[in-house]
């Protein structure tokens, strides 16, 4: 019996299945739309509520007990500096670990343990990192409640993400490239450094930015460290006002490290903490400030994600296999 003998039946059956298919596609699109509409609604609500506060002064003023004068200068500077420390610590460490796991590690129990640890760390609740930081960085290493403590804490938090993206990026590099380099007599490290790593750099950077944008909004671990909330000053500048800017001294080691890196030990506040602080104020006027700070925070993550998307786009266009 051939199908063409009862083509009509086949066609109605196909139609029925296509209908189910169409309905599912609608549901899928709808699900995503619901999520996105809520996202949009939340953002818009914050924006509308906070809009009256969003002026240049808001970015250049220190916090104040008077809501209309309060600004986020110390918060956004703090966030930027903390993110700088986070990136400087997490990126090289994470990339190096990713390279090791993907390119060097042999299939043995050591690699297995490291791997389990990485996946496990990715799932450890952020507040636990806060407890770790309190016990380790603040009281054991005596780093104080400083930019470096917060930066390192968030670095540990995003380390697994950086490792995992690095591994994925390296895995996507075709083996033929490695073989080509080996065939020319390159050592393993030369192969990785000159060819594999540059090739995966786009995806790695994308992953790093996404990870940082996640760290930027973290509240819980910074609360447990006990981030300071009223900071009406900026850390001392590492650079001098006039030429040659670098803080040089007359004797060895010729650079005033204390000034150059003093900001690492400075007290700080960050955006989510500032927002949380305003949200819990008795004066309802502060809720507007909180909304404005929330808008800025979302905008910051938006910009970072936008950068990541753009990088991904550049990378995809530039390299085609």
């Amino acid at each position: 019996m051939l199908i063409s003998d009862n083509l009509k039946e086949v066609r109605t059956q196909v139609q029925r299945r296509q209908l189910a298919n169409g309905i599912f596609a609608m549901i899928g699109l709808l699900t995503i739309l619901v999520a996105l509409i809520i996202l949009l609604g939340l953002t818009l609500q914050l924006l509308i509520q906070g809009a009256p506060r969003l002026s240049w002064d808001f970015f250049t003023s220190f916090p104040s007990r008077k809501p209309e004068q309060a600004g986020i200068l110390s918060a956004w500077v703090g966030t930027s500096l903390v993110m700088l420390v986070t990136a400087l610590a997490a990126v090289p460490l994470g990339i190096a670990a990713g390279i090791y796991l993907e390119e060097y590690a042999r299939k043995n129990w050591v690699a297995d343990i490291i791997e389990i640890n990485v996946t496990n760390l990715a799932g450890v609740p952020s507040i636990v990192y806060g407890l770790l930081a309190l016990g380790l960085f603040v009281y054991q290493f005596k780093l104080g409640e400083s930019i470096q403590t917060a930066g390192l804490t968030l670095a540990l938090l995003i380390l697994p993400i950086v490792i995992v993206t690095t591994r994925e990026a390296l895995r996507a590099v075709p083996n033929s490239l490695r073989e080509a380099a080996y065939a020319l007599g390159a050592t393993k490290w030369q192969t990785i450094w000159d060819h594999v790593l540059p090739c995966g750099l786009g995806s790695i950077m994308t992953g790093v930015i996404v990870a940082l944008s996640r760290a930027i909004g973290e509240t819980a671990p910074v609360i447990t460290i006990g981030a300071l909330t009223f900071i009406a000053f900026l850390p001392d500048s590492p650079l001098n006002q006039e030429f040659p800017y670098l803080p040089l001294t007359g004797s060895f080691p010729w650079i005033n490290f204390e000034q150059l890196f003093g900001w690492l030990g400075a007290a700080f506040t960050v955006m989510p903490i500032q927002m949380f602080n305003w949200v819990s104020r008795p004066n309802p006027e502060f809720q507007l400030n909180a909304a404005a700070a929330g808008t800025v925070l979302i905008a910051m993550t938006l910009v970072m994600n936008g950068m990541a998307i753009y990088l991904r786009f550049l990378f995809r266009r530039g390299v085609k296999w």
């Binding site: 104040s64 007990r65 420390v85 400087l88 610590a89 990126v91 090289p92 603040v138 009281y139 005596k142 780093l143 104080g144 409640e145 400083s146 470096q148 450094w193 000159d194 060819h195 790593l197 540059p198 090739c199 750099l201 006990g226 981030a227 300071l228 909330t229 009223f230 900071i231 009406a232 000053f233 001392d236 490290f257 204390e258 000034q259 150059l260 890196f261 003093g262 690492l264 030990g265 400075a266 007290a267 602080n277 949200v279 819990s280 104020r281 008795p282 004066n283 309802p284 530039g318």
Partner: protein, 327 residues
């Protein structure tokens, strides 16, 4: 070409990090600008923040002040740690220092000066739709004590004239100084409180809870009531003599709003007072406290108390010694 640039970039990154890692070992805590470090209670925070703001404005940035919110206990932990990286100059406290905390300070060789700076009146609030306007301390006790847990679930079980409606309770978390004070004053020392109420460290959450539930009752600092008067109704408290009193600056200061008004404190590390910036800040604090306390909706102490506090500061009188009875 492209690969080259990327490698250069990566190399630069590594170099930067290497220097960072090497140099973080170097002592970096010394700040060239003098800094006053303060931490502690969230109840005292608004007052100290206001002072710090004004002080920094007056000094035009020559002195930096940081104010943290780690809670009274967290504040004392840092204050008494003897660990230079976390030690604070001043600790905000919504309750007097506890003996074990005093021990810790002594062990670290830290002497402190205790200065009361204002009153905080705990305010019992209900939803504006609630007909109840006043209650006695006894009624509050019946409502909150351990024995009420699971049994006192309706308003009219406490007072038959109150509505026949379920009772929902909100209050600060059991680890806060406000909670301790409330329990001590209403239930008495070592008397346990019922545990089936909604606690929150975030007083705005409590405001939300009470303002949206006509059957709710809660308590928190006066400032939160003052700023949200349109959504909340304060309950007049009858200390037992038949005259219910509403909280206000006047009733707290003349001693009629009892027992729910308490003093709040700052503790100053005596050694820190040797630093001119700390000395200057504390002087500024006591001079401006009366106006600034009022501005943030707390209740200032009587003028003679501030004078006594200034005197104590000048004499560098240390230890937990009440300024007068009740402080």
């Amino acid at each position: 070409m492209k690969l080259k640039r990327n490698t250069g970039f990566l190399g630069g990154l590594f170099a930067l990090v290497a220097t960072t890692v090497v140099t973080t070992g170097i002592e970096v805590n010394s700040q060239s600008t003098p800094t006053v470090k303060i931490d502690g209670s969230s109840t005292v925070y608004p007052v100290t923040e206001a002072v710090a703001e004004e002080f920094q404005n007056a000094k035009a940035g020559a002195i930096q002040v940081t104010v943290g919110v780690s809670g009274t206990g967290g504040g004392f932990k840092k204050f008494c740690s003897g660990e230079e990286s976390v030690q604070t100059d001043i600790s905000n406290a919504s309750r007097p220092i506890k003996p074990e905390e005093e021990e810790a300070c002594k062990a670290a060789g830290i002497e402190f000066i205790e200065l009361p700076i204002a009153y905080d009146a705990l305010t019992v609030v209900v939803n504006p739709a609630n007909p109840v306007n006043s209650m006695t301390v006894g009624e509050l006790k019946t409502m909150w004590e351990k024995a009420a847990e699971g049994t006192i679930t309706k308003w009219n079980q406490i007072n038959p004239s109150w509505p026949d409606a379920p009772l929902t309770l909100y209050g600060p978390g059991a680890d806060s100084g406000t909670f301790d004070y409330f329990v001590e004053e209403i239930l008495g020392k070592d008397n346990d409180i019922r545990s089936d109420f909604t606690p929150s460290e975030d007083d705005n959450v409590l405001v939300q809870g009470v303002s949206r539930d006509p059957n709710a009752l809660g308590y928190f600092g006066f400032a939160y009531y003052e700023e949200n008067q349109d959504q909340l109704k304060a309950i007049a408290i009858d200390p037992g003599d038949g005259t219910p009193v509403l909280p206000s600056g006047e009733t707290v200061n003349n001693g009629t709003y009892t027992p729910l008004s308490r003093p709040i404190y700052i503790y100053i590390n005596k050694a820190s007072l040797a630093k001119p910036e700390v000395k200057e800040f504390v002087d500024f604090y006591l001079q401006n406290a009366p106006t600034l306390v009022q501005e943030v909706a707390y209740i200032p102490l009587p003028t003679e108390d501030y004078e006594k506090a200034i005197e104590r500061l000048q004499n560098a009188e240390t230890g937990r010694v009440p300024l007068r009875e009740g402080l």
